[in-house]
């Protein structure tokens, strides 16, 4: 069956959701099994419209829940198709059981996660609670800071996930509303160029290959379970980072847009740095530039790849920095933040004398303003000048009521 190609302008004004939907169209996904949830709905809605309008040769499977949506993806991927879906928040939470199935069965499914807070209380806006919920699930996790990156990272995710040395599912994260519903200029690829980057889907151990029967979804007890999990972790630690670097390099060759596992901004001579994810990285970059005009040598580190965690790269990026702030957009609920812990772990055995402090911010979509970041950099410079962390190790930014700080 033939399908139509779509003429795109070089720059389209797209929101993050539509950018992701266009990427799914250009990758020619065979099966999307989906259940709608705000704010990710327009991604699968977009794919289904492209399908109905004959821009894709594929199948859209409507199911009764996100658990079923990911289960459908797992079946279709095991059968031997290129598979993707999208979700957010409560839907992501309902998928969690099947996320572990997908990665354990080594199925290269792409899940667009439009980050949103987790209830209770119910909230449709963007924070990273769902992203954090997925971080031990064995998936590769990419993070987009803008609609452009939501578009680009989908192609990169397919390329990495479907590599026969990898065969692991991957999530492409974008901030709910702040990226998903924010329209910005997106540099597009034409359909042929875009498809050439991911190439034809090459099945592996597919159930529909009757000449080579395989079993999926097996049971292993203490005899083999540990070996499977260890091998999956081994591949994430040793094989995946190199494949990601390869994909980033080919993508740069194709488009001129360069991605890195750890995105550094003005870090070479920085005294103070902020480590964060999502749209906050871009806002922080703008503020860092303004801080330099005020004489504070500010830099920004953004995590592009959350899993596998780029331990060595982040250590390298931060080693010479005098004061570092980690910004977690998810309530740690009784601990220091995830980024605080990961960064502390990466730096602990190094020679760094960096002063590390953690911040929680932006829960349920609460605005992170430029003023918050100006205050934050000023506080970090204060720590540098004092030679010690002058505040408690964990503070909450932008929450109403008495200032919340711990540790």
């Amino acid at each position: 069956m033939a399908f139509d190609k779509m003429e795109l302008r070089d720059i389209e004004v797209w929101d993050g959701n539509f950018a992701a939907a266009q990427a799914l169209r250009q990758c020619q996904i065979d099966v999307v099994s989906a259940y709608p949830i705000t704010p990710s709905t327009p991604i699968v809605e977009g794919y289904s419209k492209f399908l109905a309008d004959n821009y894709v040769e594929g199948e859209f499977v409507m199911v009764e829940s996100e658990h079923a949506a990911m289960s459908g993806c797992i079946g279709a991927s095991a059968a031997g198709g290129r598979v993707a879906t999208a979700t957010s928040s409560q839907g992501f939470a309902l998928m969690v059981e099947t996320l572990y199935q997908a990665s354990g069965m080594r199925l290269p499914i792409i899940l667009n996660v439009v980050n949103r807070a987790l209830a209770a209380p119910l909230n449709v806006n963007g924070d990273h609670a769902d992203m954090y919920l997925g971080r031990d699930s064995g998936w590769i996790q990419f993070d987009a800071y803008s609609p452009q990156e939501a578009y680009d990272l989908n192609f990169i995710a397919f390329r990495v996930a479907e590599d026969h040395d990898v065969r692991l599912p991957a999530m492409v994260h974008q901030d709910g509303f702040m990226t998903s519903h924010t329209a910005q200029g997106v540099y597009t690829m034409d359909d042929d160029t875009a498809y050439s980057f991911v190439g034809d889907f090459k099945p592996m151990n597919d159930m529909l290959d009757f000449e080579h029967p395989v079993t999926h979804g097996v049971q292993t007890e203490e005899d083999w379970h540990y070996e499977h999990k260890a091998r999956q972790h081994n591949d994430l630690m040793t094989k995946v980072p190199a494949k990601i670097e390869e994909a980033f390099a080919s993508f740069e060759k194709l488009t001129g847009r360069k991605y890195n596992q750890v995105e550094q901004y003005d870090m070479d001579d920085a005294d103070v740095a902020v480590v964060c994810m999502g749209t906050s990285v871009e806002t922080a970059r703008e503020v860092a530039t303004e801080m330099r005009e005020k004489g504070i040598k500010a830099g920004v580190v953004g995590l592009r790849v959350i899993r596998p965690f780029p331990f060595m790269e982040i250590k390298e990026a931060l080693e010479g920095i005098k004061a570092i702030a980690t910004l977690d957009r998810s309530s740690p609920n009784g601990a220091a933040g995830m980024l605080f812990n990961e960064i502390a772990g990466a730096l602990f055995n190094s020679d760094t004398k960096a002063l590390l402090s953690g911040y929680v911010y932006g829960l349920g979509g609460r605005d992170l303003t430029k003023k918050h970041l100006v205050d934050l950099y000023t506080e970090l410079q204060g720590n540098v000048d004092a030679g010690k962390v002058t505040t408690p190790l964990q503070q909450f930014i932008g929450v109403r009521g008495p200032k919340l700080q711990f540790l």
């Binding site: 449709v124 749209t279 906050s280 871009e282 605005d367 992170l368 303003t369």
Partner: protein, 185 residues
């Protein structure tokens, strides 16, 4: 950096208007951003949408804005919300109303001393498009007040953006844009 805040009711097309404006501006080589505050939006609920325009890539994702322009596309919102919040001294207001500018300012003293322009986008939309969708007329008024683009260039681009709508509706929108351009005071 040019920043615009829209005040609207959910369903009046502020988001579409903001995205359409961003699309037109993008074709001239500028960088754009269009977004909105939704909450658990219900049709008729007051809401805000936003545009940012700059020569360089827009990295600022904060929702806080001190706008250069404020568009109010629902006539009652000037009384139920503070449309002057975070306004600057030179912020320009374009407000949909059946009142004259003087009557409007007298009825909402917060607008006193501000640069206020008025146009009845609701009436224009009803008479041209046949429905109270005041978003495209507001853009016509904005073209007049800002002098941003030639109105013919703007309409030509809006034709492309609205192309998925029936031809009759597209044509009606063009008349609405031109009327608001001509009628804004």
């Amino acid at each position: 950096m040019l920043e615009i805040r829209w005040h609207s009711r959910a369903g009046q097309g502020a988001v579409t208007g903001a995205k359409g404006l961003a699309d037109v501006i993008s074709t001239t080589g500028k960088q754009v951003q269009a977004f909105a505050f939704y909450g658990s939006a219900k049709r008729g609920a007051a809401m805000t949408a936003y545009n940012r325009v700059d020569d360089k890539v827009i990295m600022n994702h904060e929702k806080y804005m001190e706008p250069d322009y404020v568009f109010v596309i629902d006539p009652a919102i000037v009384y139920t919300a503070d449309v002057t919040i975070h306004g600057k001294e030179n912020t320009k207001y374009i407000i949909t109303t059946h009142l004259s500018t003087e009557e409007l300012i007298a009825s909402q003293p917060k607008l006193k001393g501000k640069e206020v322009h008025t146009v009845d986008c609701i009436k224009i939309a009803q008479e041209t498009i046949g429905r109270a969708i005041p978003n495209t007329p507001m853009l016509g008024a904005f073209m007049k007040i800002s002098g941003m683009y030639d109105i013919e260039f703007f309409k030509e681009n809006m034709r492309r953006i609205l192309a998925k709508l029936p031809q009759k509706i597209v044509d009606a929108n063009m008349i609405a844009i031109q009327r608001a351009y001509d009628e804004v005071k």
